[in-house]
Amino acid sequence: MLLNTLFIALRSIRRNLLRSFLTILGIVIGVAAVITMVTLGNGATQAVQLKIASLGSNLLMVRPGQRQGPGGAGGGSVPSFKEADAEAILTQIGGVATVAPEGRSSVTVIANGRNWATTVTGSSNAWFQTGNWTLAAGRPFTDDEQVSGAAVCVIGETVRRELYGGAAGSQGLGEQLRIKQFSCTVIGILASKGQAGMGNDQDDTVLVPLHTLQRRVTGNRIVATLLVAMQDGADSAPIKNALTQLLRERRKLGDGDDDNFNVLDTQQLAETLSGTTQVMTALLGAVAAVSLLVGGIGIMNIMLVSVTERTREIGLRLAIGALEREVLLQFLIEAVVLSALGGVAGIVIATVASILLSSIMGIPYLFDPAINLLSLAFSAGIGVIFGYFPARRAAQLDPIEALRHE
C-alpha cells in the first residue's frame, strides 16, 4: 500500500509542477541559506586558524611597549630589546625551542632594472623555524654571515616574482639585489605560503641577517620583536610567566612598575579569533534557520490551499474507494517528498554558492556533511509536521460534500 500511495503522490506532484516548485521555494532558500552560512563560517574560522598557524604555531611574540596586539610598539621612551635578550630566553627558560630576534624596515628593492616596495626583515636562522618557513631553493645563512652582517639575503616568492619573473622558486638565485645603498646576493628563496587571507601577503619580504639590517639599513642596534618558539606540546602559560619574569629582571623593572613590553601568544590569539568566528557562524546559522522555519510554514500554507483546491479530487478518490489513511498518506508523502526535494535543491544551490562565495572572500571551502544531512533531515521533518494537518483535513472530508464542492 505504501508503494502505491507513494506512486500516487509522485503522480500528483508531477501533475502540478509549477505549484510544487512554488511550494518548495521557501524550503530551498532556507536550506541553502543555512548550509551556505555555516559553510562560509567554517571556512572563515579555518582561514583565521591558518593565518595564525602561518605566523608560527606555539609562538610567543614579544614586543616593547604596553599596548596589546600587533603593531603595538610603544613610545620612544620604552627601551627596545637586545640580541642578548634572545640568548638569555633560550638558555634560561625551559620549554623554549628557539628564539629569533627580529627587526624590520620598509624599503624599495631594485634588481634587474625593476623596483619593488617591500619589507626587509633582519633576523637569524631561527626565524625560519619560528615562522614555519622552508626554503624552495638555496641555503640559509652561515654563522659567519650572521656575525659579520654579510651582504646576503633570502627573498620571498612575491619579491622574487616581481623582480626576476619566471616560474615559482626558479629564477633569482645567485642574482644581485640592491637594498638602499648596498647590494646583496640572493642565496635562498622562501617556499611560498600563499595569501594568508585578508589581504596579507607573507611572501612579500626580504630576509637578511640581523647585523646586516642593523648596520646597513637602519643604522642602529634595535631589535623590535623577539619571536619565541615553544617546544611542541609545551604549555604556554608557565613559559609566558617565566619569560615575563626574566625580561622584567633584564629590563630592571621594580616591583611597582608595569611591564614595558607585551607578550602575544599566537595559540591564545587563535583560540580567541576562531572562537569569535564560531560565534558568528552560529549566529548566521540561527538567522538562516528562521528562514527555514518560515519555508516550512509556507509548505503548510500551500498544502492547506491545495487541499481546498483539490476538494473534488479528494472526494473522487474517496468515492472510488480510497481509504481514509490512504488519502492521509498521499498528502503526507506529497509534503515530505516536496520538502525533501526542496532540501536537495537547497543543498545543490548552497554548494554552488559556498564555492563561489568562498573563492570571492578568499577563504577555504569546507564541505560539512553534518550540516548537509541535518538540513535534509530537518526539511523532511518539516514536511511531516507541516504536511500532517492539511493531510488529516483532506482524509476526513465527507466524500459527498467534497464531490459537491465547487
Binding site: 501533475r15 502540478n16 479530487e313 474507494g321 459527498i400
Partner: protein, 250 residues
C-alpha cells in the same frame, strides 16, 4: 419481463424502511421517509423525481457514500448500515463504479492514468493496470485517445473516460448521477447508448439518477421519487433503442 418482480434470485440490493434525517431540532429535515426498494443483478434502473424529492440522498445511500438514519440496506447480503467508513470504502472499491454529472476527471492527467486510478487503490501491478485501462477505454470507444488530458477532450469524450474509469474494476453496479446533465442532446444520446450497451452486453447493473424523461427512457425500470417517498416503480416495456443507421461520432 420485469426484473423487479423476478421472484427467483435474492436481490443484489435491498432497501428496507430506509429513512434519512439531516440536521437536528428545528432544522431537522426528513429526506427519506421509509424507502423499500429491491434491485436485482443486471437491471437498468432510472431514478427520477424533482429537486428535493430524495433521489440524490437515496443514490448516496445506494452508493455506500452515506449511511441511512434508520432501516436496513443489504448489499450482496451485507448490512451496509452497520459498516465503518473504511469498510464502505472497501465495498465501493470492489463492487461499485461511479459516474458523475461533472465527470470529475483529474486535470492535467492522461485518460489512461485517469482510468487506472481505481486500480491503483486496489494495488494492481502496472501491467494489469495498463491492460485493464486500455480494455475499458476500448469498450467506451476511446482507443487512440489514451494520452489525451481532459482539457484536450470534448465533454462527451470526458464522460466516456469517466465511464471507463467506473467500469475498469468490473464492478457489480454502476451508479450514474445525472450523467448527461452537462452534455448536449447528441452527446447525451451517445452516453445513454453506451450505458445501455454496458448493461446489456456485460450484465452490469446500472442505477441512474436523471430528471430528463428522454434519458430515463433508455432504462428498463423507472422509479419516481416524490417528497421522500417512492411514488411509482414500474417496468419500461419498450426502452429507447439506438437507430441501426446511427453513425457514432467520437
Amino acid at each position: 419481463m420485469s426484473a423487479a418482480q423476478s421472484p427467483s434470485a435474492t436481490p443484489l440490493i435491498r432497501l428496507a424502511a430506509v429513512t434519512k434525517v439531516y440536521g437536528t431540532g428545528q432544522a431537522e429535515l426528513l429526506a427519506l421517509k421509509g424507502i423499500d426498494l429491491s434491485i436485482n443483478a443486471g437491471e437498468f434502473v432510472a431514478i427520477m423525481g424533482p429537486s428535493g424529492s430524495g433521489k440524490s440522498t437515496a443514490m448516496n445511500i445506494l452508493g455506500c457514500l452515506d449511511t441511512p438514519t434508520g432501516g436496513q440496506y443489504l448489499f450482496h447480503g451485507a448490512h451496509v448500515e452497520a459498516l465503518t467508513r473504511d469498510q464502505r470504502a472497501r465495498l465501493r472499491r470492489r463492487f461499485l463504479g461511479f459516474v458523475f454529472q461533472g465527470f470529475n476527471l483529474l486535470a492535467r492527467t492522461s485518460a489512461q492514468e485517469n482510468v487506472e486510478l481505481p486500480l491503483l487503490y486496489r494495488g494492481d501491478s502496472a501491467e494489469v493496470r495498463r491492460a485493464a485501462a486500455s480494455r475499458a477505454l476500448a469498450s467506451v470507444g476511446l482507443t487512440g485517445w489514451e494520452e489525451h488530458t481532459p482539457a484536450e477532450l470534448s465533454g462527451g469524450q470526458q464522460q466516456r473516460v469517466a465511464i471507463a474509469r467506473a467500469i475498469v474494476t468490473q464492478p457489480a453496479v454502476l451508479l450514474a448521477d445525472e450523467p448527461t446533465g452537462n452534455l448536449d442532446s447528441q452527446r447525451s444520446v451517445e452516453i445513454m447508448e453506451l450505458l445501455q450497451g454496458l448493461n446489456e452486453a456485460h450484465g452490469i447493473t446500472v442505477l441512474m439518477v436523471t430528471h430528463e424523461p428522454d434519458m430515463a427512457a433508455y432504462a428498463r425500470r423507472l422509479v419516481h421519487f416524490v417528497d421522500g417517498h417512492i411514488a411509482s416503480d414500474e417496468a419500461n416495456a419498450s426502452p429507447t433503442r439506438p437507430l441501426a443507421a446511427t453513425t457514432r461520432s467520437h
